[in-house]
């Protein structure tokens, strides 16, 4: 049974960092606790987000910066719901991870892959320009959030690296010294999102084409096991994000390397 613990991390405004407790705990092998209590008010409210800037990351991925003056603040790893509305009232809504770290600029950033035939990502990549307005609600879900309190082992592929980059940026912005590592998988160097931003914490894996001197290959036990074995004080909290196939593969490697299942958080982009 979980103790009532309150992590007093100077987190983003609006996000209360408490581990939700008091609820029924099933008598089963593991239960991954939520990391934060989320604000129902922020999650319920649709707000206008005004596009202020578009930055290209790779040939198919771009970052979109928005002004959201009433943004309640978020923690790295959280996502929001975004809605586009057509002239006849038709709407399309999708989830997007927050790429920017918590800050008080009144701005947030999302990084979107251009999905072939995609309704929402297609609009962003072919139509959107600064000044455009969309609707957002959030932040949502405390489960994948990382308040910056525990050592974090991050594994992502493709646009799955977006919520993990928010964690890395938060770690840097706050000058945190809690251990943080990222394993990021991309098809080739030109498809690696945020390539210029990675530092010593990151190892990139290339599955189709690699730069000179770097082997081509899938994320493997040879990369995951030594990181898991480092076991910093308090143990790793593992965050896995990407397609379902990637999430299954990466989480299996973590389990095989001895990472406890109740310390693995997975976000699947479908």
């Amino acid at each position: 049974m979980a103790e009532a613990t309150t992590v007093t991390e100077p987190a983003a405004a609006g996000a209360t960092v408490t581990e939700p407790t008091g609820a029924f705990s099933p008598p089963t092998r593991f239960a991954v606790p939520g990391r934060i209590a989320v604000s129902d008010r922020a999650a319920a409210l649709w707000q206008t987000a005004t596009l202020t800037e578009i930055r290209r990351e790779t040939p198919t991925v771009a970052t979109f910066r928005f002004a959201v003056p009433g943004w309640a603040g978020h923690l790295p790893g959280q996502h929001l719901m975004l809605r586009l509305t057509a002239g006849d009232g038709y709407t399309a809504q999708r989830h997007y991870s927050l790429a920017s770290p918590p800050d008080d600029t009144g701005h947030i950033e999302l990084t979107l892959d251009h999905v072939e035939g995609g309704e929402v990502s297609g609009w962003f990549h072919t139509e959107a320009r600064p000044g455009d307005e969309v609707a957002v609600r959030g932040p949502l879900s405390g489960f994948f959030a990382w308040p910056g309190d525990r050592p974090a082992l991050l594994i992502g592929a493709g646009s799955g690296v977006v919520p993990l980059m928010s964690m890395i940026r938060h770690h840097r912005a706050r000058g945190l010294d809690v251990p943080l590592r990222l394993l990021v998988s991309a098809r080739g160097p030109e498809e690696l999102v945020y390539a210029a931003e990675y530092g010593a914490e990151t190892t990139a894996v290339f599955t189709r084409r690699a730069p000179e001197g770097v082997p081509v290959g899938r994320l493997s036990a040879a990369l995951v096991a030594p990181l898991v074995a480092e076991r910093p004080p308090g143990g790793w909290e593992a965050y896995v994000c990407g397609s379902n196939a990637f999430a299954e593969h990466a989480s299996r490697l973590l389990v095989e390397a001895g990472q406890p299942v109740d310390r693995i958080r997975i976000e699947r982009f479908g």
Binding site: T28, L84, G89, A92, E127, R268
Partner: protein
């Protein structure tokens, strides 16, 4: 209404089977679980109902299969936006299990829990009357592990996070107690026709 400049969206489909804000995922069946897919065989699987019942009981795989078979054919709706039409699940109606344990008069809600530790809360009324199943077949084949196999709860008239994968049990209560996603900001009931996605909806 704030119209998004330049957004027209896909051609409109007038589909009375599609709840508000949902789209037809066609042949796709996205996987959305936040935990590691458990390594669970039918021999390891058990299903228990306890709490406010006359006779708590645990079924193993063979005992559960001895109950009358029942099929759900229809649609499922995920809170992330996709719906899937004309799916076919095979298993046993939850009514058959509940008839054995006999819920007490004070039982109003249930917490469903998984072998993975996942939990979700439901009003008891959503689990009775032929509207909920323990399902182990999909499309005539064993339910794949990533979709909750060997067996999952199936409550197709609510958003699919209520249909707990790797179902291990139900505890009947006289009050509502939020489960995993419900504690993470999701709606207590999750009716897709009323678009009850997040608490506050």
């Amino acid at each position: 209404m704030n119209v998004t400049r330049g957004f027209t969206g896909r051609p409109r489909v007038l589909d009375p089977g599609l709840p508000p804000g949902q789209y037809d995922a066609g042949d796709d069946w996205p996987v959305l679980s936040a935990e590691v897919t458990p390594d669970l065989t039918p021999a390891d699987w058990t299903f228990r109902i306890d709490g406010l019942v006359a006779e708590p009981r645990t079924w193993d795989w063979d005992e559960a299969h001895a109950l009358p078979a029942s099929v759900y054919e229809g649609d499922i709706h995920c809170v992330t936006g996709w719906s899937k039409f004309g799916v076919r699940f095979g298993g046993v109606s939850l009514d058959a299990f509940l008839d054995v344990v006999r819920p007490g008069a004070s039982a109003t809600h249930a917490v469903a829990y998984s072998h993975s530790g996942y939990t979700t809360n439901l009003p008891l009324a959503d689990l009775t009357g032929g509207r909920a199943w323990i399902a182990w077949e999909y499309d005539g084949k064993p339910l794949p592990a990533e979709h909750g196999g060997p067996a999952r709860l199936l409550v197709p008239h609510l958003y699919f996070w209520k249909s707990a994968k790797w179902i291990a049990g139900l505890r009947l209560l006289d009050h509502d107690e939020p489960g995993f996603w419900e504690r993470n900001g999701y709606h207590a009931r999750g009716n897709p026709w009323e678009e009850q996605r997040y608490s506050g909806d």
